[in-house]
Symmetry: C2
């Protein structure tokens, strides 16, 4: 194993630790020391991989976009459009326990960074934008009326479910809303 190899590993380890800790504690309450501890890296050593705290969150978001894109491409390969949208909703259903505890990692970061300057706010909104545009594309393929409105509602419902489920610490609330959403999806497509 080369030096460079180890370095990449450590970068990955730090990034995964950062993602986990920021999800649990939120951006503002997370210190770089918290992340260092989680990744078993000395405090100051972080600055070799993340120039600033902001660049760290940038990398989290970039990784999240890549992971989302990967899943969407997978669904586009092996499912019909309606099942793709249901698969998307099922992510929230499956993550209901963790999101009820810590909120949706995408949405909670949007709110936290929305006040941290236009650049950071715009970055945080990108995964949400990806979700909306990809959903709109699926609705369009399905021939649904108002695909843009459908996609908008879908993303809003998922985010609202996560926020309220988190506020009440109630994973059941998230599950119930995903069920309602899937019923709504099938009705919408039937027309």
């Amino acid at each position: 194993m080369t030096r460079q190899q180890r370095s990449i590993d450590k970068h990955q380890r730090l990034l995964q630790a950062a993602e986990a800790v920021v999800h649990r504690q939120g951006y503002h309450l997370t210190t770089l020391a918290d992340i260092a501890r989680e990744a078993h890296v000395p405090v100051g050593g972080i600055y070799y991989y993340f120039r600033t705290k902001e660049s760290m969150v940038e990398q989290i978001i970039t990784a999240r976009m890549a992971e989302l894109t990967r899943r969407m491409e997978e669904w586009e390969r092996d499912r019909p459009p309606l099942a793709r949208l249901e698969a998307l909703v099922d992510i929230w259903r499956e993550d209901s326990e963790i999101d009820a505890r810590y909120g949706c990692p995408i949405g909670s970061l949007c709110y936290e960074l929305s006040r941290a300057g236009a650049r950071m706010a715009g970055l945080a909104a990108r995964p949400l934008l990806l979700l909306r545009e990809w959903s709109e594309k699926q609705f369009r393929i399905l021939g649904a009326a108002d695909p843009g409105g459908g996609a908008e509602h879908l993303v809003m419902a998922l985010q609202g479910a996560s926020l309220v489920g988190n506020a009440f610490h109630d994973p059941g609330a998230i599950v119930r809303e995903t069920d309602r959403l899937k019923t709504w999806l099938r009705q919408r497509v039937a027309n």
Copy 2:
């Protein structure tokens, strides 16, 4: 005007300033100095009215609950149940500009305080709980099926609309979702 009178005024001024600044900047990014400046009060002078930053946000939430309750009682006096729910949705419609800029003051605080200890998280969730329970009561009066589920969806939709509208800085998105919600409301009640 007595001394006590002036003191109450200053307390009110500080509380209103705190509410406005925390809405604009979020809890974590707001310093007590920001609030003092907004209220034209010297920095240290805050601590006579707010023991700690946490007690300040407690008072904001308490005031918000009182205001919500006041409005709900007013609607219960002079509107039929369906119009009460529409009036609730219209609050978000009317605040779409400001919420697209700064997020829903209730929901964004829920996410921010959800990691700040169980006590603070529970406090932040109370306005949301009030909204859900009051809405459920209206659905029940209307004889709608699953009033609890209806209320849950209503609150989630409003919060999701605010979060997404804020992320995209798009008041139109919030307005569109309130329109969809009102259509949904009338359909639900028709059954």
